[in-house]
Symmetry: C2
Subunit: 773 residues, 2 copies
C-alpha cells in the first residue's frame, strides 16, 4: 500500500519525482478515449524504469500460448491487445545533451490528471549534467469529442542558458509487448509517408492483419515564429521522425505541439488509411490544440453531468469515486459493439486486454445507469456475435447440440486463456452472461432484446448447463463436478454452490424467456427455434429437471450454503488470525498452501446471494456473510464491492465503508501492490455499485426503482444521477433524508425505505429515514 | 497399435524400410550401457523424419520452466538429460553424391537388435539417384563390459560401379533438445584436440558446467590396406571431423570402424578429460572391434544367466520379456549411486530423463531379484542423498520442522516438474519412497539400512504427512485435501484413498523403524534423533493419532474403497461401453471431459491393495478389482502390470495374460501410439513383475520366499532365476508343477502353494498344483 497521491476533488496529483513510483504513476495517470489510450510515459527519452504502453482498442494478436504440458482442448493462443506505435515521442537535445529525467536533477516535478476536463499535465525543472537548467510543462489528452484524435503541447524554457535545441519528433512503431510469450514482435511496417500535412507510419499486425496508421503533425514555435521541420533522412525500420533545430534564449519558451491520429483497418479501408488519416489530421490541426482541448473539456462536462457522484465531507472518497468513473469512461464509451472492457483498459498489458466476465457482472450495472441504453446493449450484443464461437468452444471440450460455453478470456470470441483450471472449469462466466441479459431487461424494460438477440444466447447457455451436470446415482440429484468458482483460491471442486445456483437459474430463465418470446412474437419464436433446432418438449423437460433437482451444498448446523463439497473439511481459520506478514497470501504463500486453506480470494457464495438477493432472507444472508466474510482476503479487485453492498444491506455501515475505501482507492493507494502493471478498470464499476447499490440501496424491482439509503459517518452527503428508462433522476442522500428530483415529463413511482412514492413530473421528493417501515 | 516387428526369441527384427516407422524404430533399437546410450539413428546423413538422440547419464541442464501463469512455489526449471554429441556420424559421398536413405531406393533393409549379445545391426542395399548401387552392413554397440566405450563397424560395398568414396567421420556437438522450452542450445565447446590417437571434442553444459569429452578413433580399411585420415581443415564450432577418400572397386568392401568414448567431469578431473579419454580410447583401439564385441557378448551372457526369463511355447511373449529385461539392463546397472532410471532411459527426451516414483514402485523389485543387492541399495541411497533438498522443497511449499517432500521429477534432488496439480499434489511419491525402504529390507533382510540411511528419510516423510493432513471438525477425523493420486485423470481431489492409506502406513512404519534402530543401536539412534531434532514423545503421538484416525473413503453398499471423496457422484460408465473410436481418451477427449469422467488412467486403489495386500481379504480385493478394473483405461504404461498381478492372484488367468501382453509389448507394438518419443523403460520392470509376482505368485513373507504359480494357457512353461539373500534360485513353472533348484550351500525354506518346503542345499524341489491347500 502506498500513499503518495494527493487528495483533491477533481485532480490526481503527484508532487516530486520518485523513479521508484514511476511505473505506478504511469498507470494512474493513463489517458484514453475508448478508441485508443496510453500510459503516462514521458514524451522525452527516459532511461529509468518504465512500462511503455500505447494501445488501439480491438487490435489484437494471437500470441502463442505457453504451458508446460499440453493437453487436449488447451487454447492455441492467448490473444492480447497490442502495444502500438508511440506517437508522442520527442527527442530533445540541448547543445548536444539529451534530456532524460533519469540523468537529471529534477525539481518541482508535478503530474496532474485533470479529470474534470480530461487531460494530463506534467511540469518540472531539470538540471542537466552540464548544469543547464530548463523548465517544462507538457499537457496532453485523448479527445472523447473526436476519438480519433490525441494532442500534446510540450513547452520548454531554457532557464540559465541560451543555446541550441535539436528536436526529433518521432513515431516509434518498433514496440513489443512485455508479456509476449516468446519475445516476439507483433508488428510489421507496411507503409510510410511524410509530407506537409504530417508523418504517417502504417503498421500491420502479424497473423491478424490489422493495419493501423499513426499520423502526426508536429508544430514548433519560438519567439521568432514557427520553425520548419524536415524529414529525418536516416531511415530506420518501423520508425519515422522529423527534425528541427531552434535557438533557445534564456527565459524564453519553445512550444511544441503534436496532433496525432490512429486509424485502423477495423474502421477504414486499408488502402485508404493514409488518405483518411490525412483528412482527420488536417481537420484537427486546423482547429488547433486549444480548441481541441476546449472540445474535450466540454465533452467531459457532459459525461460528468450524467455520471458524477458528489461526496461532501470526504475528499479522499470524492477523489476516488471520480477517478473510478473517469477511468471507466476513458476505457469504454459503448460506441462500437465490437469493443469491450479489458480488465486493465488502456493502462497496461496484463490479462491481455481482453474480455472477461467482469463486463457482465460488474460493468453492465454502471453503464445501465450512467450511459445511454445503447451502451449496455452493445455489450450484450458483443456476446451475441460470439455465440457461434462459444458453441465451437464447447464442441472442442466435447459438448454438442448447440451447447455454448463462452470463453473465460477473449478478444474475438475464441477462448484464449491457458490454465485448464480456469478455461475448462471457471464456467460460471456463462451464467454471468445470461444474468446480464436478465439485468439489462429488468433495468431498461427492453423485453424486445430477448427476441432480437438474447434468446439464442440463453438457449445455448442452458444447453451447456444441461450437459455439464450429470446424474449422481449416489445422491439421486444432479451434480456439477470439476468446477472453479469466482474464488480462484480453490479449483476443480465439486458442486460449487455459486456455479450450481447460477446454472439452475439459467435453465429456469431460458424456459421463461422462451415462453415470453413465444407469447409475444410466435413467428420470431418459430424462426429462432428452427435456427437452433430447439426440441422444446424434451429440452424444456430436461432443463426443468436439472433446475429443480440440482444439488446445492448446505450445512444444516451452521445454516449456511457451502461454497463446495467438503468446504468444512478444511481447517477453519479466520482472516483476523492471519498475521500481516503473511498477506497478501498470493504473494507470501505457495499455491499449494493457498488451495488447501479456507481463505477466499473473492466473494463466491456471497456473489450468488448478491445476484439473487430476493431468494434469501436477511437472517440467511447474515449467517452466510458472517461466515464467508471472515474467511475472505479480497485479493481479487472484484471482491470488496460485493461485500460492501451486502454489508450496507445488513446495516453494517462501518464494514460497508471500509470495503468502499478498499475498492475505490485500490489503485490510488496501490492496495495490492500491483498498480504498476495497470489499473483495475473493471472493478471500478464495482466501486460505483458500492455507492449506488450499497449506500443508496438502489434496486430495480417490478419495473420500479427503489432506494434504501444510508450515509457513511465520514460523509456529509452524497449525490448522483441515474438514468432510468429515459429519465435522468438526481438523487442526494444526507444524514437523515434522501432527495430525488424527477425532471421528466411524467410521474415516476419510486420505492423509498419500503414505501411507494409517486414523484410528479418535474418535482422533488424528500423522504426521511424515520419514514422507513 | 502397430505390428511390424518380427517375433524372434532373442532378436528384435525390422525388415523393409518405412520412413514413417523410422522414429519408432529409432526408439526400439536404442542402445545403452547405463553410462551412456543412443537412439538407433543412422550413421550416415538422413534428411527424413528422425529424432536424434545421444545421452550421457547424469548430465543434465536446468531448462527454464514454461508455464502460462506463474504462482508461488512453481519450480524455476525443468531439469533434463541432454542430447549430447553424436560420435558415430559418417558423411559418405560416392563420386560426390551424398548417401541419404531418404533420397535413395532402399532394398533389403533390415535392422536387428541382438539382445543376446547386445548389439545393433543394420543392413541394406541402396540405389542412389545416379543409379549407383551399394550395400551396407553396420554393427554397433555400447559396451557393458567397459561402460566408457562404444564401437561401430560400418561396411560399405559398391555393387555396380567403381569410383571414389569421400568419407567424413565426425563428432557433432552442435545438438539441441527437441523439448527445449525456449529453443535454447545447452552446450558450449570448451576444447578440441586431434592427433594420431583420435579426435577429442569437449563440450560444457551451460549453467551446470558439466564437461563431457567425446573421443573417437576412426579406422578405414580397403583391400589396398588401411587408409589415412586427416583432420578437416574447415573449422566448424562444436564439430570435429576427419576426412579421407578411398577408391571403391565394384564388389569390394570398405570397412570403417569408429571406437568412441564419452567421459564426463562427474568422474574425471575436467582438466584431464582429454588425457583420460586418450588412455581409455587407446586401450580400446588396441583391443579392436572384434575383441570388444566378444567382451560385450560375454558380459551380456552373464546378465542373461542371472536375469533371463524363458517362456516356452509363445515366441511373442518370449521376445517381449527379453526386450523388457534387455532395455532395463541397458538403462541402469546400479554401479553409480548418483544415477537413476529415467522413464525413457537413453531412448528419448520426454519426461526429462529424470527420476520419478517409478523407480521405487516398479524398478526396485526387479533389481532386488535380478541384480546384486548393492544395486537396489544404491537406488535407495540416491534418495537419502536428496533428503536435504526434499526438506527444502517442502519448505518452499510452507512445511517446516524437517518435513520432507521428495520431488515428483528430479535430477539433483530439486523439484523440476511444472504442473501444480502434479508437483504440489501428486504426493504419493513420498509414500513409494518409504515403501521401497520397507520392501528392500523385507527382501534382503538388511535391517542395517535403517540406521545407516533409511530412518532419517522415514522421519522426514512422516513429518510431511503429519503436516499435510488437517483435522476436520466436521468429520472428527484427519483428512488429506488437494491431492492427485496415481490416477492422473483426476486431480486436486480430497481424501484419495491410496494416498491416505499410504500416508497412514508411512506414519506407522516410521515409528516401527525408529523402535528397531533404538533397540538395536541406541547410540546411533541418539545420533539420528539429535541430528533431526526428533521430539519423540510428541511426534510419535502425533503420527499415531493421524495414522489411526485418518479418513479413508469407503462405500458400504458396494463394499469398495472409494478412490476419493465424491467418486460415486460421477457418471458411472464402463470402459467396455467406450467405442474404440474414442480411445485412447487422452488423445480423443478434452482434458475437461477426462477429468470429469470416471475413467482411470492407472491403478490407484488397486495400487494400494497391491502394496498392502495382506491387509485385505480376497473378497474385498475381488470387489475392488471388479469395480476399478472395469473403469481403467490403462493409458499409463505403469498400469497393466499391477492389474495383471492382481488378476493372477484372483485366479483370473485370462485377464492376467491379457494385461501381461499389454505391458510387455507396449513398445514393440506401439500400443499407446507414442513409442516414437522413446521407450517406456520403467514400466518394463512392471512387465517382469507380471511374470514373477503375477504368474509365479512370488512374495516375500516372514523372511521367506513363497510362490503360488500358474501357467498362462498359451505357454508350455516359463522359468526364471531369482537372487534371494545371496542364493540364486532357478524356478520353472509348467502346466502342473513348479520346480525350484537351490544351488546354495544351505537349506532354504520356501513356501509353495501355501505349504512350506525345506529345499536342501544343492537340491531341487518339485511341487504340484494339486498339493495346494
Amino acid at each position: 500500500m502506498k500513499n503518495y497521491i494527493q487528495a483533491e476533488e477533481w485532480n490526481i496529483i503527484e508532487e516530486g519525482f520518485d523513479p521508484h513510483l514511476n511505473k505506478i504513476s504511469e498507470s494512474l495517470f493513463s489517458l484514453g478515449n475508448g478508441r485508443m489510450g496510453q500510459r503516462a510515459n514521458f514524451e522525452e527519452s527516459y532511461s529509468g524504469d518504465t512500462l511503455q504502453g500505447n494501445y488501439v482498442a480491438g487490435v489484437y494478436y494471437p500470441d502463442k500460448t505457453r504451458v508446460g504440458w499440453w493437453k487436449n482442448g488447451y487454447p492455441e493462443y492467448f490473444a492480447k491487445v497490442l502495444n502500438a506505435a508511440n506517437w508522442m515521442g520527442l527527442g530533445i537535445r540541448l547543445d548536444g545533451e539529451e534530456l532524460d529525467l533519469n540523468l537529471c536533477k529534477v525539481t518541482g516535478f508535478k503530474r496532474i490528471l485533470n479529470m474534470k476536463e480530461g487531460y494530463l499535465e506534467r511540469s518540472f525543472n531539470a538540471e542537466l549534467a552540464s548544469g543547464k537548467q530548463i523548465s517544462v510543462t507538457a499537457k496532453r489528452f485523448f479527445s472523447i469529442a473526436n476519438d480519433e484524435i490525441a494532442a500534446l503541447h510540450y513547452q520548454l524554457t531554457a532557464l540559465n542558458f541560451s543555446g541550441k535545441l535539436e528536436l526529433t519528433s518521432f513515431i516509434d512503431g518498433d514496440v513489443k509487448n512485455q508479456d509476449s510469450n516468446y519475445d516476439e514482435k507483433f508488428w510489421d511496417e507496411v507503409g510510410r509517408t511524410q509530407n506537409d500535412s504530417g508523418s504517417y507510419l502504417t503498421m500491420r499486425t502479424k497473423k491478424t492483419d490489422f493495419d493501423v496508421v499513426t499520423g502526426v503533425k508536429t508544430l514548433v514555435f519560438t519567439k521568432a515564429g514557427q520553425s520548419q521541420l524536415s524529414a529525418d533522412t536516416a531511415v530506420k525500420d518501423k520508425y519515422l521522425a522529423e527534425l528541427t533545430a531552434v535557438d533557445l534564449t534564456a527565459g524564453e519558451a519553445v512550444d511544441i505541439y503534436k496532433i496525432a491520429t490512429n486509424l485502423s483497418s477495423q474502421n477504414y479501408d486499408s488502402a485508404e488509411l493514409t488518405t483518411s488519416a490525412t483528412a482527420v489530421l488536417e481537420a484537427a490541426v486546423l482547429k488547433g490544440f486549444t480548441a481541441l482541448l476546449e472540445e474535450q473539456a466540454a465533452a467531459w462536462a457532459t459525461k460528468w453531468e450524467e455520471g458524477d457522484i458528489i461526496i461532501e465531507g470526504d475528499v479522499a472518497a470524492q477523489q476516488a469515486i471520480r477517478f473510478n468513473i473517469f477511468q471507466l469512461n476513458q476505457t469504454y464509451t459503448g460506441k462500437d459493439a465490437r469493443l469491450n472492457i479489458g480488465p486493465k483498459g488502456f493502462t497496461g498489458e496484463k490479462y491481455g486486454g481482453s474480455t472477461y466476465w467482469d463486463t457482465e457482472a460488474y460493468c453492465i450495472p454502471f453503464y445501465l445507469s450512467t450511459a445511454p441504453q445503447e451502451v449496455s446493449k452493445n455489450l450484450l450484443v458483443y456476446r451475441y456475435k460470439h455465440l457461434e464461437k462459444a458453441i465451437e468452444n464447447a464442441q472442442k471440450l466435447g459438448f454438442d447440440k448447440g451447447a455454448a460455453l463462452y470463453p473465460m478470456v477473449t478478444m474475438n470470441g475464441e477462448e484464449c486463456h491457458n490454465e485448464w483450471e480456469i478455461t475448462f472449469e471457471e464456467i460460471h462466466r456463462n451464467g454471468a452472461i445470461a444474468f446480464a441479459i436478465f439485468n439489462y431487461i429488468r433495468y431498461t424494460g427492453d423485453q424486445s432484446y430477448l427476441k432480437e438477440y438474447g434468446l439464442e444466447v440463453l438457449i445455448g447457455i442452458a444447453r451447456f448447463w444441461k450437459q455439464r451436470v450429470n446424474w449422481s446415482e449416489a445422491r439421486q440429484q444432479y451434480v456439477m463436478l470439476g468446477v472453479t468458482g469466482p474464488n480462484e483460491y480453490e479449483n476443480n471442486v465439486n458442486n460449487n454452490w455459486y456455479t450450481s445456483t447460477l446454472a439452475a437459474w439459467c435453465l429456469k430463465y431460458a424456459v421463461e424467456a422462451t415462453e415470453i418470446v413465444k407469447a409475444e412474437d410466435p413467428a420470431r419464436y418459430q424462426e429462432i427455434a428452427g435456427k437452433v433446432n430447439l426440441e422444446e418438449a424434451q429440452e424444456f423437460a430436461d432443463w426443468k429437471a436439472v433446475s429443480e433437482n440440482i444439488y446445492l451444498p448446505y450445512d444444516e448446523e451452521k445454516g449456511i450454503f457451502l461454497q463446495q463439497d467438503g468446504f468444512l473439511d478444511k481447517e477453519q481459520t479466520l482472516v483476523s488470525e492471519l498475521p500481516a506478514s503473511q498477506r497478501p497470501i498470493n504473494q507470501k504463500w505457495s499455491w499449494d498452501r493457498i488451495l488447501r486453506s479456507c481463505f477466499i480470494k473473492q466473494a463466491d457464495v456471497l456473489q450468488g446471494m448478491y445476484f439473487f438477493e430476493d431468494d434469501y432472507d436477511m437472517e440467511s444472508l447474515r449467517r452466510n456473510f458472517d461466515f464467508y466474510e471472515s474467511r475472505t482476503v479480497h485479493e481479487s479487485s472484484l471482491s470488496p464491492c460485493v461485500h460492501s453492498i451486502l454489508a450496507a444491506k445488513l446495516n453494517d455501515g462501518e464494514k460497508a465503508y471500509e470495503f468502499y475505501l478498499r475498492t475505490s482507492r485500490l489503485d490510488l493507494d496501490d492496495y495490492n501492490n500491483d498498480t504498476e502493471d495497470g489499473l483495475h478498470i473493471t472493478s471500478m464499476a464495482g466501486t460505483w455499485m458500492s455507492i449506488v447499490e450499497g449506500f443508496a440501496g438502489m434496486r430495480v424491482r417490478n419495473n420500479q426503482l427503489s432506494f434504501s439509503p444510508f450515509l457513511p459517518e465520514q460523509w456529509n452527503s452524497f449525490s448522483f444521477n441515474i438514468g432510468f428508462r429515459g429519465v435522468q433522476l438526481k438523487i442526494k442522500v444526507t444524514r437523515d433524508d434522501i432527495t430525488i428530483v424527477n425532471p421528466a415529463k411524467t410521474m415516476m413511482d419510486i420505492n423509498i425505505f419500503n414505501q411507494l412514492h409517486s414523484v410528479p413530473a418535474g418535482e422533488t421528493v424528500i423522504a426521511w429515514k424515520g419514514m422507513a417501515v
